[in-house]
Amino acid sequence: MTVGPVGAVSGVGEVGGVSTAALSDRFGSAILRQAVICGDSIVWVDASRAHEILAWLRDTPGQQFDYLTDVTAVDYRDPERPLEVVYQLRSLPRNAQLRIKIPLDKTKPLVVDSVWDLWKGADWLEREVFDMFGVSFAGHPDLRRILMWETYAEGHPLRKDFPLRGHFTRAEQTRQALASNPEAHYSLEELSIAEAYDELPEDMRRRMAKGERGFVK
């Protein structure tokens, strides 16, 4: 996997009291790259050890990144470039900020470990990344779409291969909206225990039976 350069890199080291050197000492090859861009410290880490690194950053004295500011993702215009999941961390006691980026190869399944067990605030943020980018978060208790509806079938809107007006034609979108049953607007969580299960579209039932969203009839 290649991690392309992201423009003006002004140096590596300490910014805002963030000791990025300590990270490379501790985790070695799992730290892919470090940079300071526009004054922000950024560390690229390997997806397989990301959860471990984030937990370490949260709990280690001297790091104390106790506040998860944001979770998001970036899909670059260059299709060769990996998609990046971005964690904005903040240390309230030390008044420092750090950005952790996890590059994900788009030819493989997009999976990272959920940090819901570390920060409950990650719940909706990770759901939004799942909804908008199709990144799965292993260990998330309730990973389902949040802004788009449950049966939305056009894909993940913030991916660069998603056209601005959607994959379907306007006529198809209208047809689907008119043909959808009212149950389509209830969450799987609610439906999985309701009688309407049998009236669900076949693909939805299949997904639920596979336990994709964590609920099995």
Partner: protein, 424 residues
């Protein structure tokens, strides 16, 4: 009576069929008044949910077992749209995110884009932006105060706060020409300077506004009904507030003294004299106290900013960089060079150097972050809004657990949400 009910959670007799997840005592099906939980749908068209928010509340008697928020009804894909627009063209989109404080959103985006491009704005511009931010904070908190009062049965403070809000809106309208779609800032400056009479109008507002706040204070702070409805309701501990990534008044009410204006100052906020109110219990009452005090403090900042503005009379407003700031129309029509810059800016936009930036500002609702990624073109690769009310609302399920149904309304009001920002 046989009913063909479409709602999946009701059986043919209109009773709830679904058993709550994780609760192991299903009621007696033959007992008409049995202990079965009831599923109540609140919204999305409900005045007390403050927008198109839908809450599915599971009740045992009057007590909430679970509360599941559903959002997305107002999703407009702003972040996607932003990837197809020049930086200045994104500013009108920011109006429509947190539509109760549009000017503060404009400022937040312009600051992030300027940091990405390495532009330092002028003194006068900074002061005007501080004025814009604090005016927004006051109108946003006034809406919160009024509507929360209504939710809890108090009508009079609603009239007071909306009257005061109207005075700020009039000033905002005289400055930007709009009450909601302000689009006040530009990358490198402002859309317009304040009009004649604006400073006098804002001074008049600043001198009389604290009196209204005092009246609200008299009406609410020691009011037995208000205290009874808000104290110890929807409380969040300090540790939980941090763990749930709350920000703004929600975080400060829980006793965390984090304010972006103090901790990572922007717009020279460190040179203004103001205090950050911090609560103790993290309940609705403390959130009310924090927001009320913030309005007094915003008023103080406005007075200081007006003094500075008077000293900066006639100082330049926009950066003197023709690549970023549009020339006056008269010059663009008469001067060749100005016309070229005008053409290039309008047709090609202003390219930002490749890189990325995250910039947080203290919006009325909490920490509004703007994350911009550029690949060197005039349109961002990614424009991410860190929406404060989206993240604050995510803890609603936890706050409502075990509360009474009537408290759900109060708790939801205390979060101070705006759906335009949550759904984007």
């Amino acid at each position: 009576m046989e009913l063909d009910v479409a709602t999946p959670s009701l059986d043919a007799r209109g009773r709830v069929t679904r058993a709550p997840l994780g609760v192991a005592h299903p009621g007696d099906p033959d007992d008409e008044f049995g202990a079965e939980p009831m599923l109540v749908n609140l919204g999305p068209q409900h005045p007390a949910t403050h927008g198109v928010l839908r809450l599915v509340v599971e009740l045992e008697g009057e007590r909430v077992i679970r509360c599941i928020p559903h959002i997305g009804y107002l999703h407009s894909g702003f972040e996607k749209l932003g990837e197809y627009r020049h930086y200045n063209q994104i500013i009108p989109l920011t109006d429509r995110t947190d539509y109760l404080s549009p000017m503060a959103n404009n400022v937040a985006f312009a600051l992030a884009a300027e940091k990405l491009m390495g532009i330092e704005v002028t003194e006068r511009c900074k002061v005007l932006r501080v004025i814009a931010c604090e005016m927004s904070r006051i109108i946003s908190h006034l809406v919160w105060l009024g509507t929360t009062g209504i939710d809890l049965g108090a009508f009079t403070p609603f009239l007071w706060s909306f009257q005061e809000r109207e005075r700020i809106y009039n000033l905002q309208e005289s400055w930007t020409g709009a009450r909601l779609t302000t689009s006040l800032t530009r990358v490198g400056g402002m859309m317009a300077d304040v009009p004649a009479g604006f400073e006098a109008g804002l001074r008049a507002f600043c001198s009389s506004f604290p009196k209204t706040l005092d009246e609200v204070d008299t009406m609410f702070t020691r009011n037995a009904i208000w205290c009874g409805r808000t104290q110890d309701v929807g409380a969040m501990s300090r540790e939980d507030a941090i763990n749930y990534s709350l920000s703004g008044p929600m975080l400060r009410a829980s006793g965390v003294d984090y304010d972006v204006r103090k901790d990572t100052p922007y717009l020279d906020y460190e040179t203004y004299d103001f205090d950050v109110p911090v609560g103790e219990h993290g309940d609705i009452y403390d959130r009310y106290r924090v927001r009320l005090e913030e309005m007094y403090q915003s008023n103080r900042i406005l007075e200081q900013a007006l003094d500075r503005l008077a000293r900066l009379e006639g100082a330049p407003l926009n950066v003197a960089d023709p690549r970023v700031i549009l020339p006056p129309k008269s010059r663009a029509m008469s001067d060749m060079e100005a016309m070229i810059f005008h053409f290039k800016q309008v047709m090609e936009g202003v390219p930002a150097p490749a890189g990325e930036v995250y910039l947080a500002v203290e919006n009325p609702k909490g920490e509004l972050g703007t994350y911009l990624v550029s690949d060197g073109t005039a349109k961002p690769v990614r424009w991410r809004i860190r929406p404060p009310s989206f993240i604050n609302l995510a803890c609603l399920s936890k706050l409502c657990e075990g509360a009474l149904l009537s408290d759900v309304i109060a708790i939801n009001a205390s979060v101070d949400i705006v759906m335009g920002e949550i759904d984007r």
